[in-house]
């Protein structure tokens, strides 16, 4: 099969173009010589199936960033038939260097000049015909966002692909390093002859917005307000959908599955319905919120505001070994840790990514909040409730900052902080939907396998041996509770709460349900019963532990997948468990010492 690679600088709309060409058919694949996954898709081009690969955005073929090494390793290990080089028309004066570097290697190239619409507005005119003649390769102006010029570009790619069967000769790369000087010169000549750029860009909307959003003192408050509104939006829109889906899934169970399994053996219906179906349904009910998160996230990311947030927060985050983008991911974690951890992909330095991934699971996610709202309602007066919830949020920030400060020397990142500030852009609906869909697919793929395994295990633990009451202390889960008593008693967590904590390892959403099963009660009766069993100090200790220890199996699976390191996954688990215990211990024993 013939192979086409897509290459360009960051922020040129490369992924948009890739998504537009590939539709939703893209998949993640491994490639010889490189450790990271690249997106690829099989597309139909001129009657042949061709493989299209999306290479990471790079500034320079000779650079030393991770992405630049990935691209170098890819082209020195994988022969290709054609490179589609994508440049940003509005920055062609600077980006042409990348094309010339690649041209020197002798690749067959189609040059696509993206953001033709923006360039037009900025008064930049590019004579593509004369540029094409001088360069000796097809030059086509396109708009990846709206699809203009795309058929023409694909046509040019088809004719090159059909003409020749030769793939590339990767060895000549080293030669190029010596010719750096020539490139500088050639680039200057080309721009001089073929491109006219006005001294200042006509479109100063970005400047006007920046004046407000990057204001020395209003910038940060405005940023927090914007983030708050986004979270509000996600939960206002997402919560009813989630409730509706949960109701539907419950209906399917009572109306369809329960009658279906009435004649099955008790163990089978228990495993299938109480185990797998309930577990998977819990995850499924969260899909709407996750989709919304991805949509909002890709919108914020594509709009150019994330780079601005990085600018605003960087000074503070730098003191913790993180940067402004890390802060944005921490905020995302307050909704759900999983997309936040996936969001660290925008970071180029692996060390910084790891440090951010270590911090994110400590943020008070929406599932933890459910547990807190339940516990607070059961054990605290209404006047104290907001204060307790607020203190948990403060605690969440505190543990995140503490973790970053403690681990920053472990994950020193040498990559300098230099970021391009793209102009503000409004992503098209198609762009948003495609991106959101991709992320959701990956999430479901990974999470589903993990959740099914987890819930089966939990069900087995709470239902065997079969001669005792389910979820009682005599079951294996109960025995585990007894087993952990020496560790959990000093932090005020009794056997019942311990079983709930074990359930909580799979997902925090199960904790409240688990307590209901354990106490055999529901709603107000359950809360009243719990108030007689534990006091507020125990409840607070339980909440602190719930806040800090690993959020859920999905998060663990995501950490393992994104870091590609089992050791790092264990570090994250052990650190959060250890920290949770120490904080709960200090609080519980401290409160008891003070006579509470």
């Amino acid at each position: 099969m013939k192979r086409i690679a897509l290459l360009g600088m960051p922020n040129t709309g490369k992924s948009t173009l890739f998504n537009r060409i590939s539709g939703a058919s893209a998949r993640v694949g491994n490639w010889p010589g490189i450790t990271v996954d690249l997106m690829s898709a099989k597309i139909l081009l001129g009657g042949n199936i061709v493989e299209l690969i999306d290479l990471p955005g790079i500034y320079d073929l000779h650079g030393f960033s991770e992405d630049e090494q990935v691209v170098r390793h890819f082209i020195t290990n994988n022969p290709v038939n054609l490179l589609v080089v994508l440049l940003n028309s509005t920055q062609i004066d600077r980006q042409l260097s990348l094309l010339l570097q690649i041209k020197k290697l002798g690749f067959p190239i189609v040059l696509a000049l993206n953001m033709a619409d923006e360039a037009k507005r900025a008064g930049i005119t590019i004579d593509t015909e004369s540029l094409s003649q001088t360069l000796g390769l097809p030059v086509i102006q396109i708009s990846a966002k709206y699809g203009d010029g795309l058929p023409k570009a694909l046509e040019a790619a088809t004719s090159i692909i059909n003409q020749q069967d030769i793939t590339t000769n990767p060895q000549s790369i080293s030669l190029l390093l010596k010719e750096e000087h020539d490139i500088e010169h050639e680039m200057h000549e080309l721009i001089e002859q073929h491109v006219q750029i006005p001294a200042t860009l006509n479109d100063d909307t970005t400047d006007k917005i920046d004046k407000l959003l990057l204001h020395k003192w209003f910038g940060l408050p405005l940023f927090f307000a914007a983030m708050f509104l986004l979270f509000q939006f996600i939960f206002t829109v997402g919560a009813p959908i989630q409730d509706g889906l949960a109701w539907l899934l419950d209906l399917i169970r009572t109306e369809l599955l329960d009658p279906l399994f009435t004649n099955s053996p008790k163990w089978l219906s228990g495993l299938m319905l109480d185990g797998i179906y309930n577990g998977v349904a819990t995850v499924a009910a969260f899909v709407p919120i996750i989709i919304l998160f991805f949509l909002v996230m890709s919108m914020v990311e594509d709009s150019g505001y994330l780079s601005r947030a990085a600018f605003l927060m960087d000074a503070i985050m730098a003191k913790m070994g993180l940067d402004g983008r890390g802060f944005v991911m921490m905020l995302m974690g307050f909704g759900c840790n999983v997309p936040a951890i996936m969001g660290t992909r925008i970071m180029r330095s692996r060390n910084m990514r790891l440090l951010t991934m270590l911090v994110i699971p400590l943020s008070l996610c929406s599932a933890r909040m459910q547990v807190f709202i339940f516990m607070i309602a059961a054990l605290f007066s209404t006047s104290h409730a907001p204060l307790v919830l607020f203190s948990l949020y403060v605690m969440s920030f505190f543990t995140m900052f503490l973790t970053a400060v403690l681990f920053q020397s472990q994950y020193k990142n040498t990559e300098p902080f230099i970021l391009e500030l793209p102009p503000y852009r409004f992503p098209t609906p198609r762009q948003i939907v495609l991106r959101g869909w991709h992320e959701v697919k990956h999430f479901l793929n990974r999470a589903s396998k993990f959740i099914v395994l987890g819930v089966v295990l939990v069900w087995l633990l709470t239902n065997f041996p079969s001669n005792v009451a389910p979820a009682s202390v005599e079951t294996y889960a109960g025995q585990i509770g007894v087993f952990f008593a020496p560790i959990l008693d000093p932090i005020g967590i009794n056997h019942e709460l311990a079983i709930a904590l074990i359930f909580g390892f799979v997902a925090k959403e199960i904790v409240v349900g688990a307590l209901a099963v354990i106490y055999g009660l529901q709603g107000d009766a359950l809360m009243a019963q719990m108030a007689t069993q534990i006091d507020w100090v125990q409840a607070m200790s339980f909440m602190l532990f719930t806040l800090i220890y690993t959020p859920c199996l999905s998060t663990i699976a995501t950490i393992k997948n994104e870091s590609k390191s089992t050791a790092f996954m264990w570090l994250s688990i052990i650190w959060s468990l250890g920290l949770a215990w120490v904080v709960s211990f200090a609080f519980y024993q401290g409160a008891r010492l003070l006579g509470f």
Binding site: M9, Y59, D60, H62, G63, F64, S65, T90, Q91, D93, R94, S97, L98, A122, E184, I197, L201, D210, L214, K216, W217, G219, S307, A310, F311, L312, D314, A315, I316, A318, P416, F417, I418, L419, E420, L421, P422, P423
Partner: protein
């Protein structure tokens, strides 16, 4: 000798030298930081945060540490 890091918001300058190891040099030059190129400081973040620099059509933010490596002549 004056460095990019010493400029105030609104000032303009021409790059006179870039003192950086190879990797940083490449990165800077790929973003448009080249000797002889004019630039202007759009703004500086509070608490000695990053600088927002405009070179031609490109806007770049960089930390003071990196701006310390770029020598300029103010105009």
């Amino acid at each position: 000798m004056q460095f990019l890091s010493q400029l105030k918001a609104g000032q303009q300058a021409v790059i006179s030298a870039i003192e950086a190891e190879e990797s940083l040099f490449h990165r800077l030059s790929a973003l448009g930081f080249r000797v002889g190129k004019p630039l202007s400081i759009m703004r500086r973040a509070s608490f000695n945060g990053p600088l927002h620099v405009r070179l031609g059509t490109t806007d770049v933010i960089l930390r003071v540490t990196e701006a310390d490596r770029i020598q300029i002549n103010a105009i």
